[in-house]
Amino acid sequence: MFVPSVTNPIGDFVRNLVPQVTAYLPVAFQSETLDSVVAFLINAVICIIAVCAVNIGSAPILIYMERKVCAHVQCRLGPMRLGWHGTMQTIADVLKMLFKEVYAPSGADKLMFYTAPMIVLIAPFMVCALIPFSKDLVVADVSMGIPLIIAVNGFGVLGILLGGWSSNNKYSLLGALRSGAQIISYEISFAMILLFVVMISGSTNLMDITMSQQGTVFDWWIFKIPVLGFIAFILFFISSTAEMNRAPFDIAEAEQELTGGYHTEYNGTPFAMFYLAEYIALVTNSALATTCFLGGFHAPCIGFAPVDNVLNMVPGLVWFFGKVFFMIWCYMMVRWTFVRPRVDQLMDFEWKFLLPVNLVLLTAGAAWIAISG
């Protein structure tokens, strides 16, 4: 009998542990099939809890961080009253949002209206399951990580379009269509940068991509290929910002023009789901940038043995989240620094600048591989 299994180091550990525990049970309950079924169920629960913990747990932290970064950029203090330096503020806000009444506007397509937020959440959760947080901490160590990420990213735009259309509101519809056009365009350059990383590292598995950057800081893909790596990193940063609909590319929301875009009519839990999807996408895109360019969970060694030994004592998980939060800080600083372009400028930028540059970059990367062997 075939029983599916979760292939990661923790999964192996549980698979080894379960037969040892069931050995104490009566003989009637002892069978290899039962062991593997139990091990699979335990592993599945562990995986679900891990993904939910990272995603849902990081959202309040990010909302607090966004408020503080925004406030300090604008020479304000941000939330200060509730708890030490306003740390309880986001928890209060989240609770308020979850206890609100959920209702749809009259004339809305109810089925689509309530399905849309769920569809939006598919992509970030799925991508989060693929990311190696440490040498042993990866939920799904699949061989086709990057194609899977490119494939599931399509769900985000679907959810946004459905949400905007089913709200029965012209501003929501305009926001959704703008967002659809934007994400479909920027998806191309996003996918191309990821293919560039696949090409230079020679694997589509995210764990292999991380392991190919082992060594010092100068073995990370951002520095390992002279100039090209840095250009690719900047292009990834731009296209992922547009992919996430974050400012300066937030023409889909543009609260001064569209009162909030595709989620204007949402409130309570469905709105919280849109909000959550936005912040999880921030985490997963930062984690992707970290995995593909900044060495993943490897310590930033500098090639000087005494220092490197100290750096390597810190666990990989800490390095990974350190890099992720540095990337998130960069995204936030960009958000509060640059102004929003017009719709046509945005499209021109993608089709007339980013796409040709990406094509040249792919060719140059291939040439670099051919020359360096």
Binding site: V3, M112, L162, I184
Partner: protein, 197 residues
């Protein structure tokens, strides 16, 4: 699992393990969403059900260990349907209303046709011995991305580099044609300039 229980000897392989149960669950979801795709009157809802039907088809491919085909299914078809959704919103008016209803004789004819089709399929496919055996026919990494790519882009006797390149030229042609149709001619550009002045 149950040593005392003997499963009856049937031509069909009945659910023996996780894989079979997964197959039947996925197949039922796929059929239900496919029926909803044609039964729902709102064109946008029908598109969404079509997407879920494609997703379950991709899961079926995954169960068959054809990973790249599954991902291509998600990438190409779901991306395509999303763009279709954009155009439905852009090009149709009165989208939310139940604008049309099919007449009953047509529904009856459709039912009769599909039942006849199912009958023929069952009658022809059930006796085939290959269907009743659940054995995996190919090596485990037969359809891995590396083997797939080497086969697709290799230039040995049994690989497909030339058809692949020909198809890419076809795609380029369609792209150029689309741009040619969509772009403004010189006269139109000059007219617009005159209007602006």
């Amino acid at each position: 699992m149950f040593p005392g229980l003997q499963l009856p000897e049937l031509a069909l392989s009945f659910p023996h393990g996780g894989m079979d149960i997964a197959f039947y669950a996925v197949a039922i979801v796929m059929l239900v969403t496919a029926v909803f795709t044609v039964a729902v009157k709102n064109i946008l809802q029908s598109a969404v059900f079509l997407i879920f039907s494609f997703v379950t088809t991709a899961i079926l491919y995954l169960l068959l260990h054809a990973e790249f085909i599954a991902l291509a299914q998600v990438m190409v078809y779901i991306g395509g349907v999303v763009i279709f959704v954009v155009f439905t919103i852009l090009l149709t008016s009165h989208l939310g209303e139940d604008a049309f209803a099919t007449k009953i004789p047509r529904v009856f004819a459709a039912f009769a046709l599909s039942i006849a089709f199912v009958f023929v399929m069952v009658k022809c496919l059930l006796p085939m011995p290959e269907l009743s055996s659940g054995a995996v026919a190919s090596a485990p990494d037969y359809s891995s991305l590396q083997n797939f790519a080497m086969r697709l882009l290799g230039y040995t006797q049994d690989s497909f580099i030339i058809p692949f390149e020909v198809v890419s030229i076809l795609l380029l042609m369609t792209l150029i044609c689309a741009i040619t149709i969509a772009r403004k001619t010189k006269d139109e550009v000059e007219k617009e300039k005159e209007v602006k002045q």
